[in-house]
């Protein structure tokens, strides 16, 4: 249970109390109303992100003749595929009011393990399985720590960020791994039109995850854990088990990201995913995910990834210095959280 989770019940109690509605005491109506309200805000926020995205698209198309070209769209989609996969897992974790800081290290570690198994056995399949297994192990560790001990997710995953990052360096002595199977790199660089294979993997995973999060009983319980863990526990939901599963999902998807990145750059670098977790968290927040839990959607996070990607690509294309780019990206993230805070205030 994180500190955030503990404050959350009070927060929602207040929401009901202030509203002065008789439904506040009813166990039946409150969650439904809350989820509807959350949905409306989600939609409002996402449509704003979508509007900003369209505005950026139009702006860049006008400013640069190269923006809306096949080759640039290919570059753009290649650059966001890995972050997109990470943001899916991060969405699950953030909806439970948790956070997964270990994602970047898992990208590096799983890439290294996958590459080592691939070069040792010559089998791409075995390599991918080993990589994902590594991600699952780290996710399991994060989940068990968060669900069964009083270690907050922030600290647990901060620890594994360091552990997994160090393990990747230890396994290779800091050296990168080259000479991966040619078919593996071919997959990493191939595309259908402007859709790189690695982006197709991201899209398929995002669609599945969106359905799981919004249409299944497990998905609903993920939201319940995030909005009010005590209520979720009292209503008999397997809070601990589902918390563990959520972190395992994030770990496994980070490993998939590691595999995709390794294929794309044709080598496994132990430090490959450094800071990727920050991008995925930023994307989820821009997409309307709340760090206080209970809000977020996979497709909205993907919009967030796209927004960050378009901004960075477009800025590069028109020649904004790489120093200014990071300033602009930071501003966008803060504005997104700013919007989030207004939404929070509106909810009280």
């Amino acid at each position: 249970m994180t500190a955030q989770q503990v404050t959350n019940p009070a927060h929602s109690d207040m929401a009901e109390g202030r509203a002065g509605s008789p439904a506040a005491s009813s166990h039946d109506a409150a969650p439904r109303r809350r989820s509807m309200q959350a949905m409306i805000f989600q939609l409002l926020n996402s449509s704003l992100v979508a509007a900003a995205l369209i505005a950026l698209f139009v702006t860049f198309t006008i400013i640069s003749p190269f923006f809306l070209t096949e080759s640039n769209m290919l570059t753009l989609l290649n650059s966001i595929a890995v972050i997109a996969v990470l943001s899916i897992g991060q969405t699950f974790v953030i909806v439970t009011a948790g956070i997964d800081l270990s994602q970047g290290s898992v990208v590096g570690l799983s890439g290294i393990i996958g590459a080592q198994v691939m070069t040792a056995t010559g089998s791409i399949t075995l390599g991918v399985i080993a990589a994902i297994a590594a991600g699952v192990v780290v996710g399991l560790f994060n989940g068990v720590l968060t669900a069964f001990t009083r270690v907050p997710a922030f600290i647990a995953t901060l620890g594994t960020l360091s552990i997994a990052g160090g393990a990747a360096l230890l396994l290779t002595g800091g050296q990168p791994i080259y000479q991966l199977p040619a078919a593996f790199n071919d997959f990493g660089t191939a595309a259908i039109g402007i859709l790189p294979y690695i982006m197709i993997v991201s899209i398929v995973l995002a669609v599945i995850a969106q359905v799981v999060l919004s249409r299944t009983r497990f998905g609903r319980s993920v939201f319940a854990i995030g909005s009010n863990p005590r209520a979720a526990l009292l209503s008999g939901l397997p809070v601990r088990l589902n918390t563990v599963i959520v972190f395992v999902i994030s770990g496994a998807l980070s490993a998939v990201g590691g595999v995709l990145l390794t294929a794309y750059v044709n080598s496994a670098l132990p430090t490959a995913g450094a800071n990727y977790e920050l991008d995925s968290i930023a994307a989820v927040v821009i997409g309307g995910g709340s760090l206080f839990g209970g809000q977020g959607a996979v497709w909205a996070s993907i919009l967030g990834v796209l927004l960050l990607g378009v901004l960075s690509n477009g800025a590069e294309l028109v020649g904004v210095s790489s120093y200014a780019q990071t300033v602009i990206l930071g501003c966008v993230v803060i504005v997104a959280v700013f919007i989030d805070s207004f939404r929070k205030r509106a909810a009280i």
Binding site: S71, G174, V265, T271, N313, A315, V318, S322
Partner: protein, 336 residues
């Protein structure tokens, strides 16, 4: 009722703040966008990190030579050097923009191959600098031969301790071609001196404080170490600090690679006995000269590999004109 009014007000605020964000981004972009379409030839310089003084010096050389020919230059680099995928994207973007030439410092010898091939296929010549590509698909590669330079400083160190003792290495990382080449060159030269024993290697990740910590631990654990090689400026700086703090200046020979003001001060005070200096400004100029040859139809004259000279600056020769000139490749306004 209360709810709806609140949320409406909130949504208005949302829209406001979102448009504010767009304006910020928009003005920032527009102010630099004017650069996009021009007639003179454009050269894009893409090193592997945007905050490494060494690459900024190389860019000085690029700008200097480009001004001579009337070319425009663009500087793009990932903010964190480990973002190799970011650098790949930058080369692709340069191809999309149809720049006329690319000067690249490839972070990885293989990862940058696909975008380099694409650039060359699109008739955009690429010059690899500092680190090479395998296989070399660019027009040319120019840089200091890291192995040879590291061997030169190893020879100096071995002679300084009369070929007897133990040596340790603090490398900055083993993921880059140059980091590995310097280690290899140093160790291979040391192997020629039978009295020199290898005592270990640690990685500093280019952080002086980390290099200092590692060097301190090594020296405490093994008092027989009498040579430490800091494989770049940051690493050598940390090693020098450790040795100075432990008052081992006269017992341990510290040698380095590259230079910054801190390192030069340690050379003057004799804590660092020698350092291998490269020539980043010359490297940038050489790359532009090569592109100029390609632009003017003399591609056949461009060599596949052009090694650049290196200079060994020592605590004895640092005030010589050659040394001052070499140091000025790193520190623009350096005077002895």
């Amino acid at each position: 009722m209360y709810h709806r009014k609140q949320s409406r007000r909130a949504s208005r605020r949302l829209a406001l703040s979102a448009s504010a964000a767009l304006t910020i981004a928009g003005t920032a972009l527009l102010s630099t966008a004017a650069v996009a379409a021009d007639t003179p030839k454009t050269i894009e310089f893409i090193p592997s990190s945007n905050a490494t003084p060494y690459f900024l010096q190389e860019y000085e050389g690029v700008k200097k030579a480009a001004a001579k020919y009337g070319y425009r230059t663009i500087f793009q680099a990932p903010s964190v050097s480990v973002h190799v995928s970011k650098q790949i994207g930058m080369v692709y973007t340069a191809v999309t923009r149809h720049v006329d030439g690319i000067i690249l410092v490839p972070y990885s010898p293989t990862a940058l191959l696909p975008p380099v091939k694409k650039a060359m296929a699109a008739n955009i010549p690429v010059i690899a600098t500092d680190s090479t590509l395998t296989p070399m698909k660019a027009v040319s590669f120019t840089g200091v031969p890291n192995e040879k330079a590291a061997a030169a400083v190893a020879r100096f160190a071995a002679n300084a301790v009369h070929g007897k003792g133990e040596y340790a290495i603090i490398d900055y990382n083993l993921s880059t071609t140059s980091g590995r080449a310097r280690k290899k060159g140093f160790k291979e030269e040391m192997a020629k001196h039978p009295g020199m024993k290898f005592a270990g290697i640690q990685i500093s990740h280019s952080l002086p404080e980390k290099a200092m910590k590692e060097a301190t631990t090594m020296l405490e654990r093994n008092p027989n170490i009498n040579v430490i090689f800091g494989a770049n400026d940051r690493s050598a700086l940390g090693v020098a600090q450790a040795v100075k703090r432990m008052h081992l200046e006269n017992k341990v020979t510290v040698v380095g690679f590259d230079a910054d003001l801190g390192e030069i001060d340690y050379i003057k005070s004799g804590v660092i006995k020698a350092s291998v200096l490269q020539s980043p400004i010359t490297m940038g100029e050489t790359a532009v000269d090569m592109l100029h040859q390609v632009f003017t139809g003399k591609k056949a004259d461009v060599p596949k590999y052009k090694p650049l000279p290196y200079h060994l600056v020592t605590s004895k020769n640092y005030s010589s004109p050659e040394s001052v000139k070499a140091i000025q490749q790193y520190i623009k306004d350096y005077k002895n």
